[in-house]
Structures are given as C-alpha cells and as structure tokens.
C-alpha cells in the first residue's frame, strides 16, 4: 500500500492502535496479535475476564494487555481499549475480533478510507465483501439486524454487526459505549448517526471456521441482544 501524506499505515508516523477484545481466546490470540503487528504499530488486547491464559498469550505475542477483573462484555472491552488508545495518542483506532474471523489484509483498506477521503469512521461489511462458510441462519439473523438498525438509527448500512472497524481519533473520542454486551454494536451505529459522524462502509472478508462458530453466539443470543438494547434505551 502506498504511503501518501494523509494515508495512515504502519510505516509512516501516524499511530494506529488496534483494539482486540478477547474472552477465553488463549489458543488463538497470540497468532492474531502477530498478524496484526505486521500491519499496525500497536495492538492492545482487552482480556475481558478470561479464565484461560489469554492475557499471557497476548503479552507474549507482543500486545499490550488490559485485563477486566470480571467479564463485562465485548462492548465494555472495546470502550476500555478506546480509552487506552486515546490516552496514548492514537491517531486511528481499529477494532478487530480475536476469534480469527477477520483478515488483517482488510485493515489497510479501512485506513485508506479514513485517510484518502477524510471519512471519520470506516465500517467493515461482509455483504459488500465476502463471508466464507456463513450459515443460512447466521445470514438471516444478520439481515434482520441490518433491518432493525436501519429502523433505529436511520443509517443505510449493509452490515451492522461487524467487529472490523476503524475510527479517526476525533470520532473515537466522541463515542461512549454504555452497552457492555453484544448490543454495543447497535449502540455504536446509533451514536454514529446521532453524532453525525462521516462514515463509509468498506468491503471486508469474514471467514467462519468451526472454532469461530463454536465461539459464536447461541440460539437465544438475538433475543438477549434485543432485550439488552431495548432495556438500555428505556433506562437511558
């Protein structure tokens, strides 16, 4: 990827921090961190109260590790990572899942979207890119989530629950996630809309492996997410 005056990459002096929320990912996280460090300047793994050696593996892989003493949820872990990255002068913040579904090769594309066109938020979309081995059920659920989010936020997104995103510092500093668990994805979209942030969707690849499917949300997860979202909005 060429480095222009306003295109962030690992090789110029802009600071790109990747936030990786992780829960019981001891078998994968070290590999993920190593892949990421080849592309970005800094990786921070937020260990969300894991019971395995996620923290140790991430640290050995070269990441900075923040550890929640109790499990709080992916939303909480992301916000912790954001706070750390902003305090340390990150110019751009990337969010990346620890289960191996994301492809590090997509990160430069996200950063390019922020740099070249001065967008504030770049959101990965598997439906603009590719989703290898996605089940029909998962596809239907994601489509339903897209419809729901369009109704609540008004944003015409094609993929509303994709953990691969990139933010300019200024945008990240205005976002404040209060939904600790999986409803944070909808809350994030709502805030992007409410704050009037300049967003763009970028085609990315998602690969579903037996491991990631095992780690994925169960049958009643959509009900839990919806309940968390509705109660969260009601309670403010």
């Amino acid at each position: 990827m060429s480095t222009g005056a306003d295109r962030p990459s690992a090789n110029d002096s802009t600071r790109v921090v990747t936030v990786v929320p992780a829960y019981n990912e001891g078998t994968r996280v070290r590999e993920i961190v190593a892949e990421l460090l080849a592309v970005v300047s800094s990786v921070v793994v937020v260990d969300d109260g894991s019971q395995d050696d996620t923290s140790l593996q991430a640290l050995d892989g070269g990441a900075t590790v923040l550890r929640h003493v109790v499990n709080r949820g992916q939303g909480a872990a992301l916000q912790t990572g954001f706070t750390w990255a902003l305090e340390r002068g990150a110019d751009f913040i990337v969010t990346f899942d620890a289960d191996g579904q994301h492809d590090v090769e997509d990160i430069p594309r996200l950063l390019e979207a922020l740099g070249e066109n001065r967008h504030e938020v770049a959101l990965g979309s598997r439906f603009l890119g590719s989703a290898k081995n996605i089940s029909r059920r998962r596809r239907l659920l994601l489509r339903a989530a897209v419809l729901f989010t369009r109704l609540t936020s008004g944003l015409p997104l094609t993929d509303t629950h994709n953990g691969l995103r990139a933010f300019r510092r200024e945008a990240a500093s205005r976002i404040c996630l209060r939904f600790d668990r999986m409803a944070h994805a909808s809350e994030l979209i709502d805030q992007i809309g409410r704050l009037g942030l300049d967003w763009v969707e970028v085609p990315v690849s998602i690969r579903y492996t037996p491991y990631s499917r095992r780690k994925g949300q169960g049958l009643f997860a959509p009900v839990r997410v919806l309940t968390e979202y509705v109660l969260g909005r009601l309670l403010g």
Binding site: A5, D6, D12, S13, T14, R15, S41, S42, V46, G49, S55, L59, D60, G61, G62, A63, T64, V65, L66, R67, H68, V69, V70, R72, A76, Q79, T80, T83, W84, E87, R88, G89, A90, D91, R178, D180, L231, G232, L235
Partner: protein
C-alpha cells in the same frame, strides 16, 4: 371485624413501624419512607373498610373494588420493577467503570517496552495536515 381484617391491619401497622424505623436508621430516605408508609396505610384501610375500595372503584369507573386493588397492585409492581432495573443498570455500569479503571491502571506492556521502540506519537508527524 373478622380474623383476616385483624391480621391484615396488624401487618399494616407493623410494616409502617418498620418503615419508620428504617428511615430513622438511615436505610430509607424520607421520600421513600413516606411512599411506603402510604402504601401500607392504604393496605390497612382497604382491609379495615373494604367498602371504601368499592366506592373508589365506582368513582373511577371500575365495577369492583377487588379489580381496583388488582390494577393498583399491577401498577405498583411495574413501578417497582422499573426502579429495580434502573438500580441494577447503575450497579452494572459501576462495575464496568471499576473494572476499566483497574484494567487501565494495571496495563501490561510486552517485554520490549513501547518507549524503547519510540512510540510513534512522539515522532515528528510527516504530514502537516493535522
């Protein structure tokens, strides 16, 4: 007055006493104590004078006093549920804030400190657009 009424009024009086005791000991603020006391008082009065619920129900367009008590009970339970959920939400938020504070305070850096590899935020920025 029948046995149920005697028992019910006794319970109401005891609950009022415990509520006021709770307020005195600092476990309840005045507003909450007043509300709970009114609730126990209303309970006692409706047990002592059940016909009053009929009069009140008819004034509100409800046929039976028992229905009024039922609807009132549902409203009270919903209000209580909402208050408990709001309180739980606050507690959960506080737990997250505490966990975050600890995580940020005890951040673990890799064995090669970032300071040794010159964190890029301290390097001169190539672009002058910022």
């Amino acid at each position: 007055m029948n046995a149920f009424q005697v028992g019910g009024i006794t319970v109401a009086v005891v609950l009022i006493f415990l509520t006021l005791l709770g307020m005195r000991r600092g476990r309840l603020n005045r507003g909450a104590a007043a509300l709970w006391s009114l609730l126990w008082l209303a309970m006692g009065i409706s047990i002592a004078k059940p016909n009053l619920t009929v009069v009140l129900a008819r004034a509100l367009g409800i046929d039976r006093g028992a229905d009024l008590v039922f609807y009132f009970g549902i409203v009270i339970m919903l209000v209580g549920f909402f208050a408990v959920m709001a309180r739980l939400r606050t507690i959960e938020d506080n737990i997250t804030l505490i966990s975050r504070h600890i995580a940020l305070s005890e951040a673990d850096s890799p064995t090669e400190p970032e300071e040794e590899s010159a964190p890029k935020s301290t390097r001169p920025i190539a672009s002058s657009n910022r």
